[in-house]
Symmetry: D2
Subunit: 475 residues, 4 copies
């Protein structure tokens, strides 16, 4: 529990190429009359499963006692919360969380939501993001008598709220959240109120659906529509929204002027294609990325093959713009959901083969344009290129629908150290030699903004090192 | 165990639209020197997981004692056999099986391989298929003193072998297998020999790879290439192949003349796209089916959308031939691997939504050509059409890359009763009205043969009712 | 499955001192009207749990379909069959089994009852004992075409029944069971009949209760009275009893004259003290054993201390006869139900300490008479003596309520090899030196018969080597 | 978590007759050099398993990083901490806890030890007892900004320590613990120090062993001797002891004069017979209770039968003093470790029968003196008396080795409400009629002190209502 919380930057990380490295997801629901909201939360969290597989949790306010109940566990949503499919649990307010294990410590003690009782009443809180000034705040709060039972930022927010001398809830929130730097999308139960709060830079997405009296909040719109279409809007950067028996409110957290710092990788890789995030269709953004990647390329390919499924849409965008036919040249084994942990590191290739196999009839004798979303360490790409060559590909041209990654992220994404990032060690030509490709090309950084579209103002620090906010004490 | 085995035809079945209804897979390995073949089998079975998720099992001949060891369990390959990833189990011969639960009874007692000791020595046997004259054989064998401890056909084959008075193993096999009608692809350990045997009609695929002294056998080629490319060939219909310390042999089971009865659905839906079955690339066959479906269609679509993943390749084939752009208009949640069992049947729609969600930016305002592999009951298609319309699709035209299904299968595929088959109750126009589509069109039966290609001679009985072999006692 | 079945004698064995080494238990129930007999069986098997902890199983005839259903699993009754506490499963006939893993192979494939379908209909069979001529029978049956799917004797009995040409069920049973040598107490479902059959030597106990129309059969009477008192009688040696829709029957299996060979260890150690076996109260027999042990002893003790719980009653009998006060000088940790498997064999002492701890106030400064039921290898006794001395015992005199064990058992008890038996290597004086006791004394063999009482005719072969029946092929 | 913590008095409780209702146990270890202390803690907690079966936990200071690691889980010690048997985890300090679920809420969130990071460094704390002024302290601390994440008293102690302005650890402890009322035996890791602290009234036992440089602390001495004998002493009421790199210390918490309030039930029922608690051998105390109970009794019995195992020793004491023979007239099924939860409350009798069965040969025709430790609701006793009568007992005289229970406990024992206590509703004669006994007799309250012996000063409030300390806010 109390092992030193290494917050900035994340250092031990799986590679994006190796599977999802999403950074948590949140969801909440409020109903004017008692309803089985925990069951709705189950479906919403199931829709957000791609944002975190380490643990999942639910909290809800019991309408009879006013107590906040919760259940959480290590594992997938279906395993940990599956009982809610068959239970009838009435509630007027509920929140939930899926967690991806990041720096700072894993395990059940860091699972969310965190539920407490304090001078502000009963509170349950879950958040998605990374508080970049957490070390300083933690030290300050500890000196003032705060006890930390986990290494998560959630406790820190709760301690800040508890220390507020304000009596109006809005004032408490404003005072507490004004201390936070970094990224957060928060859902909170405060007695029988539901709150949704987003950091002023807008790093992580957060959406709100209104459906008669019902309110649903979630990291991505796919979770809001789990049982049918309904209108939704983005919770604005710096907005604090709440609803409760005494009404619905929204106010700005305030603070310094911000120009927006929406995480580019949410659109490039994290979010589900059927979601809207940052006011932009994820599918459209990825199609645009693929098209932009094709524009000045001119590589003489016979077939465009995606690395499934992360490269699917960009590959299709590339194929359309380039006129080179799209085809499924790699077959993904859908039962390889969770990675194998191979005892022998030399068996890494076998693990990739269990997930992806080349389709000989598609690639044999062909000049293959292989499209993936990003390149981090390059180890998996090297194996995939080998698979394609084994299946007879004449040429393999690796295309990435994001620019070269050079810098760590301080706002919630797991990226290896600078030394491990292949783009810090090699030029595209050197990378091509390393992974065995005939050529490697990245999306030009200059094209990124137009592809991400939406309301603009994205954080591209991992590409260009221009951090929109503090990076933690050490920096 | 001893509940009456209802063999012909299968009656309680999940719908192909609802997920995989593959009918088991087999694999085997033989090495001239002791090697960790059980671990290889693990990877081979993992590659065949799509053919059966109910149970999985392994058997191998211990090189020291000559005993046949086995492990099997209910569940996925990774859960039941995962320990083999970390164990070092030497063997010269091994076989394995993944089982899809079919009529005749589920549960661990029907898991394969089945391992016995008898007057022929030690035998382990696993099979994929359906013995259509099993009721008659079972009655005959029981009258002769045979004891049945399961309702699977595997025991029946073993009893036939035991009863042979021949001493030469090939004669025993020939005598025993000559009694069988129906479909089977069998792998067998006979003391320290590995056998692979395929029914004379060739209903189910079976392949053999040769790699130096190593031999691998499996239902699909994807399993043969689990750790790299190697040459392979089809085990011919009616071929019995074996290898052991005394050498390698192959002979024809003999019997009446056959014209071939390869299951069309293996190419249409069951096999993995990166496999070759019946001498034909699955990916090529599906591309051809999609193209043929497009040929005389002329529907004015704006976008071709597959039902992922079963419709992916045919949709791409359709798009290429028709010139209508292909796009991913339905997003599949990859964590919805196993179906939800919803307590309330009215919640069926919710279960589909957990698997598939429409991508508004792709389908809104568009005339959508929706491509799936087949139509059985039509219930899931109805929900999918509704999802697309909710997301703004202007028109939805449902296209199926197989002909209309009219008849049950007696050779191993789970198909509902005639009454439940929507094509027995409605014309395409009526189906369109029922599922809410603007039009519905099936692959013309006349185009099937050219698409399936390969060596020809396919079983299309579920489409046209022309059964190539006996259908069971009642017929 | 097909590992060589080492039947005679059992060689790998836990030590009686280390915990229960009972050899299986059986139970059955029949009701003239449908009742939740599987649930009754759960309670009966739970009462017989001390006879076997490796696996447990139930079978019952479904009154609607006539099919025999079954469930079995590895583990304790509560774990494997606990669901029956809450299920309502109607049946008119049911049987069950608890298994202690013995030579011949463990694992689920040897769990009982075994359920088959054959020319005699549907049969489920469970047995307690050891067929001593099984190797010869197995070879004969295999030559005749029988298939063996396990190494248990149960299959063998079923094959014998199947091979009978008789049509009358009693004749079938008589013919099949006349071939068996060794020990067995069998319960069997034959379609909708319940059978209970005991070997002609009467090695293992078997009892039958009559309660209106209800019939209950079990290895020990404690299981018959699970829900209240009811009258019972012993199934006689060589008796075959059955009940079914067509009535109740009993007949003698017949064969050569026998003088009775009831296993002495059932009374000395195996059976529960509240049971009657062989017409004798177990509690009375153990009290008599303790008293006889005291009679000529004359050791000057201050306190009689049992090794709990196996030595409790004999210690009390000893204390009463000798006049030396009884006291609980060893405290048993009731949570140490299953033995620890200590990775380091040197940690064996720690495992004993987790089960048994000395009570200083009872033994300090005292001359302790330590009473246990038997001495096999002597390793645990050595540790217990050390514990008592550590707690201040001035003298420790070890007394065993059974004679010295010299020979293996061929009828179902796990006894180490001759070489491992401490009484084959040392005199009592030498044993005392070895285990650190001041003296060691065994029950005189001559006193055994009077203590066991009941109807006489006990098997004492492990003490005197006089085997009442065949010992297996090798002998 | 935030459900209202009902502290005074405990209301939902299992009945002592129904099995252990011990109230938690604690253990700690310190070594001058790194050693596998977590493994030692496993054995110590296993020895204290009878004090709590709901959850178990371990914490230890990592010697390399200084971090405090922990593992805890719901279930028995073997299930939750069994991995420590095989792991080598070096530590110089470690603590552990077994928890019995009491009022205030169960579940993993209340499992101990609780591990935090605060202005005093890293602390892990576990306690056994009940803080009677916790509601007032909790309110005060919450008003001051404390956050509560559980309903356990442990957090409360930690908050008090954090609020201390002292810098000397002893002063911090003195200041914090001076605020506590009620019962506690605490073990604590404070960075790399081990602490053991006992409340000034001495309600719960706490012992300390010294073995060279090694220190072991535990609720009962049986845990100190888990691997062999070593010297020990009682931690005195009001003593705070600690050891760390800078040395060993002990001081008195101070405060008002106390006369001692050792819980009588620890000796009567809770502690293990081989333990010493409060300077008194538990076995001797129970023998004395049985003897005192016999003294003026004069009931004409034929046999003294204990309710195993809680009545064993008192029954033996009774038998010795009265001269009536002791015998095991009730047989306990050792596999009935955890109670059955019978779906039908009318099946309660069946649950008792699964645990206890009468031994006919002992009780038939006899006048039975039945000895148990206490009588709470009387429901189980009623069933036991019926069992004995069914087995032929001519008379049954129920004797309890404790006085009549009239009042609830505010210091950690689960006792039903006043209304449920049978002694508040009936006289002994009426109880005899209710439970079906010929007579019922309790230990005279006046005899209790001499039997408990030791250093005197026991809490007997549940018998006489004289509470030695506050009882909570409501009183």
């Amino acid at each position: 529990v109390v092992s030193k919380a290494v917050k900035n930057p994340a250092t031990r990380i799986a590679e994006p190429e190796d599977g999802p490295v999403h950074h948590c997801g949140v969801a909440g629901a409020w109903s004017p009359v008692s309803a089985n909201l925990p069951r709705s939360l189950f479906f919403m969290l199931f829709s957000l499963q791609h944002r975190g597989q380490e643990s999942a949790g639910l909290a809800w306010t019991d309408p009879a006692s006013g107590a906040i109940e919760h259940e959480k566990g290590l594992g997938m949503v279906r395993e940990t919360l599956g009982s809610f499919l068959e239970r009838d649990v009435p509630a007027r307010a509920a929140i939930g969380h899926v967690r991806y294990s990041t720096a700072g410590g894993s395990g059940l003690r860091n699972a969310q939501p965190r539920v407490v009782e304090c001078n502000k009443g009963r509170i349950a809180l879950a958040h998605n993001g990374n508080i970049s000034n957490s070390d300083a705040l933690r030290a300050e709060l500890a000196a003032d008598g705060a006890i930390f039972q986990s290494s998560s930022d959630t406790e820190l927010i709760l301690h800040l709220m508890t220390r507020s001398r304000k009596s109006d809830p809005s004032e408490v929130v404003r005072e507490a959240f004004s201390r936070l730097e970094g990224s957060y999308s928060v859902v909170m139960l405060w007695n029988d109120e539901l709150w949704a709060i987003r950091d002023p830079d807008g790093f992580r997405p957060l959406y709100l659906a209104t459906d008669g009296g019902l309110r649903l909040a979630a990291s991505e719109t796919c979770a809001l529509l789990f049982d049918g279409p309904r209108p939704y809007r983005e919770i604005a950067p710096g907005e604090a929204w709440s609803i409760g028996p005494s009404g619905e409110r929204s106010f700005a957290l305030g603070g310094r002027e911000r120009s927006g710092a929406r995480c580019a990788f949410e659109l490039i890789y994290f979010a589900r294609p059927d979601s809207e995030v940052f006011g932009r269709s994820v599918h459209e953004a990825r199609t645009a990325l693929g098209a932009a990647l094709a524009e000045d390329d001119g590589v003489p390919g016979d077939v465009v093959v995606p690395v499934p499924d992360s490269g699917n849409i960009a590959a299709m965008g590339y194929a359309r713009r380039s006129g080179i036919p799209f085809d499924f040249g790699l077959c993904r084994n859908h039962y390889a959901g969770r990675s194998f942990i191979m005892p022998d590191p030399a068996k890494r290739e076998l693990a990739v083969r269990m997930k992806l196999m080349p389709v000989r009839s598609v690639v044999s004798g062909k000049r293959v344009v292989l499209v993936d979303d990003s390149l981090v360490r390059g180890t998996t790409s090297k194996i995939i290129v080998r698979l394609l060559r084994e299946a007879g590909a004449r040429e393999v041209h690796l295309r990435l629908s994001s620019p070269e990654i050079h810098e760590p992220c301080y706002y919630g994404i797991d990226i290896p150290t600078r030394e491990e990032l292949i783009s810090n060690r090699m030029s595209p030509a050197e990378i091509a030699a390393e992974v065995g490709a005939d050529s490697v090309r990245f999306l030009p950084l200059a094209r990124l903004d137009e592809c991400l579209g939406g309301k603009g103002g994205h954080c591209k620090a991992c590409f260009d090192g221009r951090y929109p906010a503090t990076r933690g004490e050490g920096n």
